[in-house]
């Protein structure tokens, strides 16, 4: 078992760092005019892949902290690690897709634009992203209390 608060904080850090990394990549690409006239469309593609999940994890973490006595909530360590590694896998996939960009465009005889290359992987990204949110959902729902439940405490007041 692992403290739910610690686990959620770690997941928030994991997703936050990953998101920051890709935001930095995206901003650098924008500065280099990598997407040309597709700049706006790129952000339309990019942001939904990171930001909603970040706010979900962040929001639930804040909620957990505000509930009071969050440390007595424990969750299964297996669930935590599964969730963590799926997140890592998601970022690795994104990194691979971004890293293959120039190669794929060259192989397509320059018929692909950078954005088209990214969009070509949308299905696989959505599939893995869905898996991340599914795991997070399970993760948030499951908990065991050690000692007096914080919810009961709050309810008792």
């Amino acid at each position: 078992m692992i403290s739910k608060l610690v686990a959620q904080r770690n997941l928030l850090i994991c997703w936050g760092v990953g998101t920051l990394l890709f935001v930095a990549i995206a901003i650098t690409q924008q500065a280099g005019q990598k997407f040309g006239k597709d700049s706006d469309a790129f952000w339309d593609w990019f942001l939904p892949n990171f930001i909603p999940t970040l706010t979900l994890i962040g929001g639930s973490y804040v909620a957990l902290v505000q509930q009071g006595d969050p440390d007595n909530k424990q969750i299964d360590k297996g669930n935590y690690w599964l969730c963590f590694w799926i997140m890592v896998l998601y970022f690795a996939l994104m990194l691979l897709i971004f890293g293959l960009m120039s190669y794929a465009i060259d192989k397509s005889e320059n018929k692909l634009t950078p954005l088209e290359h990214l969009r070509n992987y949308s299905k696989i990204i959505v599939a893995l992203h869905s898996l991340v949110t599914l795991m997070l959902g399970i993760f948030f729902a499951k908990e065991k209390s050690t000692g007096t439940p914080a919810g009961n405490k709050a309810g008792g007041n």
Binding site: G36, L89, S102, N110, L112
Partner: protein
Amino acid sequence: MKPLLIPLMALLVALHPLQAQQKTAPKFQKAISPQKTLPPPKEATNVKIQTKASPKVVKDTSFSAIKPKTNLEKVTPSKLHLATADTLISPVSIFFQGKVTDTKNNPLPGVTVQVKGSTKTVMTDINGNFVINVKKNDVLLINQPGFHHMEINVTQQTGNNTMFAMRIAKPPAPDLPDSEAAVMEDEMPGFMIPPPQASAAAILDKDYFKEAKTLGEVDSILVKALKTAGWGDTRYYRVMDKNKKTLDGFILIAQLEQTRDDGEPMDGSQRWELKFTAWAKGDMLDYIKSLFVNRSGYFRTCVFVISTANPLASTASTNLNQVKSWFYGASIGLPASIANTLYSGQFNCTAYIYEFKQTSSQAAEMNLNRGWDTARYLSSSRILQGLKK
């Protein structure tokens, strides 16, 4: 983590859309197919293709040991007489290195060498050399406008798993003149003037051609200037007006060159590469940089219209693929009837510069923003210096 990533990478490669795209030939490659763009000439065409093995191969398989083979005559029995050598190939993947020349051993640049049934295509460089990755049983198509196309079967296998060698030669046709000049006017395609809008256009000073007495000599002056500037190949069209009526003169088209951002020609064989690559091959750091910046490739060609008409005005637009097809759809030489036409002061030589800019984020578009005049373009391409000589 690592065990998870490996199958993921394999999945990505398998799922990538370009796997499907590679099954579709690019438009340009369709356009240069000689079966579609250039009917077989009626007169003699002499093509000699020599291929070389790398030194490693020569060590094991002496070139002189290669025995002539004539199965290629089946491909073009009536016109093309080929003596081929055995092909020494690897069972899997090999780099076929060759050289394409005419019967006078003049290298033929810009010849298309394609693996049949695939989009894998290379062009010979300025020295007629090419390298292409092939597999056993691949068929190589060698296309050169004005010549008959050839098909080469890669059949024989040896223990050497890296290289092979082949030699193809065409003996002189007994009933046809052994000359490249055997271009008939009626098989020379026409080019309508005025040509489409160019990046720059100007009538060249007649002083450059003051020693010319015939159009053939005008052509020689231009070709000499182009060769001085590094160009190896030129193509020709008849001049046609809007009513498709043939006019006096001819149109000379230079090979497409690739230039840098500053307009200077690319170095080495990269100058003649028809594909823009956003990074220097083999340079990982440059590849990473290419992920972050929108790099540009520039393609440029020169079209010289030698005509009594004044073809400067034109508003029609064109694109890079069309300009590429101009070159590969043209005749390789001037017919005698045009070459022997007397050159008089009525003829103007108008130079058109077509420059295209391609970036990694969008298709090639005509570059009208450089702000250069024709002289600047010609100077940048070293042609002006050649003309002045």
